[in-house]
Symmetry: C2
Subunit: 427 residues, 2 copies
């Protein structure tokens, strides 16, 4: 039997908005039936009988959300970082992804990915697999066992891809996708998400067919948008008559509104594209490390936030080297400062509060009431032990949280809970 009613004691930190970081030192967070029933300075009488996890002086945060990561690319993280997007795809990425036609290789690689993701501070993720149906199902099985909640997508690509990684037709791609969808209904924690790789690798016919599946099954969608300048030019050539990259998805109804959508990157979006995303509630997965590693640039995230758009963070492994959303937070601040200094002083740098918001409640919104300890939120929690970051004087919880953003790794994670259930905890 799984216990979903209990109290956490510790230094509780969560975002209400991008400006409001709420910190209750030596406080209590209550979990009732897997939902947060509030954060308190003093524990209300009615909860005194619940079991209490006393995390003492540790820092307790909502689980982190990774809105964009490629599971099969984890195998070459931190390697081959000398190319821009299109060359990088052709030289490293497609070659590696093709290996996942081999289920034995896929099993070995996905074991590593799932285990490392489990041991990270990430509680929710939106994940690209490959075109391979069987390997994608295998990834979903392995993730299901971790207890993490995630969307996983079998990738669609039927053009401009090497023969060894190109689906034979739009029709076949649709058929395989539907077969995969039907087989992925049995999971509890893992849900399917439609995943056209990006416009350059999807014919109009394919996007139209995927649109049919989207409506038939009410699926969410994830893809890439306006990451790299050459890519954007290429899309312009491939899709005459569209006025921006986003329109190439929107004309098939795969760009927000009734179709919950995540677009990764959005580094070089123009005004019209940005406005369409805002109006239709498209989620932006900001991937700062990836955008630096592939020399893509830096997305104007502060502007997106100021417009009230939906923004979360993505690690984008393997264009990003690491599964750590902490690293993504630190780099989001750092890259926003360089963008401001080197390129555009009209967009001021991101704050620590803003990146923490994006890593929790901002990305979490894609999953519903996720990423905060406000009442009614699903109880995803990570307990952080920063004792290895030694220090000669007493620090506030806020100082310690900022330091963790810059310096935390798995060694700092003392416990992790998703939707009220324990994923692991130190004995």
């Amino acid at each position: 039997m799984i216990m979903k009613n209990y109290v956490f004691k510790g230094n509780i930190c969560y975002s209400e908005s991008r400006e409001e970081l709420c910190i209750t030192e030596n406080g209590y967070a209550v979990c009732e039936d897997g939902r947060c029933a509030g954060v308190y300075d003093t524990l209300p009488k009615e909860y005194e009988t619940l079991p209490c996890y006393n995390y003492e002086d540790k820092i307790i945060i909502p689980g982190l959300v990774d809105l964009h990561v490629h599971a099969p690319q984890y195998a070459f993280r931190g390697m081959g970082m000398d190319l821009e997007l299109i060359d990088w795809l052709n030289t490293h990425t497609f070659v590696e992804e093709a290996r996942y036609g081999d289920l034995e290789y896929a099993g070995e690689a996905y074991d590593i990915f799932a285990e490392d993701l489990k041991n990270s501070a990430t509680t929710r993720a939106c994940i690209f697999a490959t075109i391979h149906t069987q390997a994608t199902l295998l990834l979903m099985e392995k993730l299901e066992e971790t207890g993490i909640k995630a969307y996983v997508g079998k990738v669609n690509m039927d053009r401009n891809s090497p023969e060894y990684l190109c689906e034979e037709s739009a029709e076949k791609s649709e058929k395989d996708t539907e077969e995969w969808l039907l087989k992925s209904q049995g999971f509890k924690n893992i849900k399917p998400v439609l995943t056209p790789r990006f416009t350059p690798s999807c014919t109009d016919e394919l996007l139209e067919r995927l649109s049919g599946l989207q409506k038939k099954y009410g699926l969410p969608v994830q893809s890439h948008l306006s990451e790299n300048l050459d890519e954007i030019d290429w899309v312009k050539e491939l899709c005459p008559g569209t006025s921006h990259y986003g329109e190439t998805y929107d004309r098939y109804g795969l760009f927000g509104n009734s179709c919950p959508t995540i677009m990764a990157h959005c580094v070089h979006c123009g005004e019209e594209e940005t406005e369409l995303m805002r109006r239709q509630g498209v989620f932006i997965a900001h991937c700062p490390e990836s955008n630096a590693n592939l020399s893509s640039g830096v997305a104007p995230v502060k502007r997106y936030l100021e417009k009230g758009m939906k923004v979360g963070l993505g690690t984008d492994v393997a264009a990003g080297s690491s599964l750590s959303v902490f690293k993504a937070m630190a780099l989001a601040v750092q890259c926003s400062k360089l963008r401001w200094r080197l390129y555009d002083q009209s967009v001021v740098p991101l704050t620590m509060e803003e990146v923490f918001f994006m890593a929790t409640k901002g990305g979490g919104e894609f999953f519903g009431n996720v990423g905060s300890f406000e009442e009614g939120y699903e109880f995803d929690a990570v307990v952080l032990d920063d004792s290895m970051l030694r220090h000669p004087r007493k620090l506030s919880a806020k100082e310690r949280l900022e330091r963790l953003i810059y310096l935390a790794d798995e060694r700092c994670i003392a416990a992790k809970f998703v939707d009220g259930q324990v994923i692991f905890r130190e004995s």
Copy 2:
């Protein structure tokens, strides 16, 4: 008795130049009397009788060199990252540095710094202390015990500093510095380096007096140069008649030539200043994380390298959050890509080979023949165990080295040697 004659077996990686990364897989590196006697595919007969450390499939690199780090600032690493240089100094840095007047606090803080530096991959460092003579000597004692080789500087500052952290006169600053110099002669691994903080906090009289000490004792010098635009404007105001920031040091003979000099940052150097540094052999400590965190910008490092200038890496704690020179390498590549994309396409990004060179032989040159396994180099070595970075297929040593640059932390360090002597090793 200390053994300084032995053989290492493993995958040996080192730089000959910024373009030439030498890798001998399953090779041998020989240490004779603390110096490298060459790297071999097959062990020459003459060395067969030496004891052999068999590191099997591990990666062996020269120790890393940190050309710029502030020991007292380690206490607030990863905090207060929302300001630019001058405000950051006044708000966070000076307040913390003032605490080192209290020897008890200094002892506690420097214990942490020295121990963490010992456990890092750094074998050589150039370190700023504070204005306090006793605390600086205490830092030197603690570092001496680690076995790391380092230059440490008592900081000089006699103007534009808060009263609680300002030396009372140039004369007193000189007197204290000479007293400190005389007391720091007894160390074996740790040497003193003259450390005028930066021009804004040093009067002309102070620089002149320090110049006298430099000549009298033949000392090296470290300081800061052209880090931040406001700082540069301020120096212009403070030093009328100088044509660039570098000249404010050069006119007192504290800028290369017979005075071995490290200048940290060099983000915004003009042509004349750059040319003077090149001609006089000034070392540049490139500190990419610091320059991002304080919104300073990105130094045109590739250009410096192409001119044949002397460049190493600095972590610049606490404007940089971490003592990890691996992190500095990764960020040096990443920031150079953003500089290229956002600001100046005439300076192409740094390569993995170049940042590895800077982190080893480039910075090592300040210490003599240090930072390589070429014959005659002092035997500084770090043995890296990347088994925690799991992977489904076999990788080359070069791929593994690149991945370690992005992902290594202390858990990957299996052993560390400085000048032929073991600092630590896994049992």
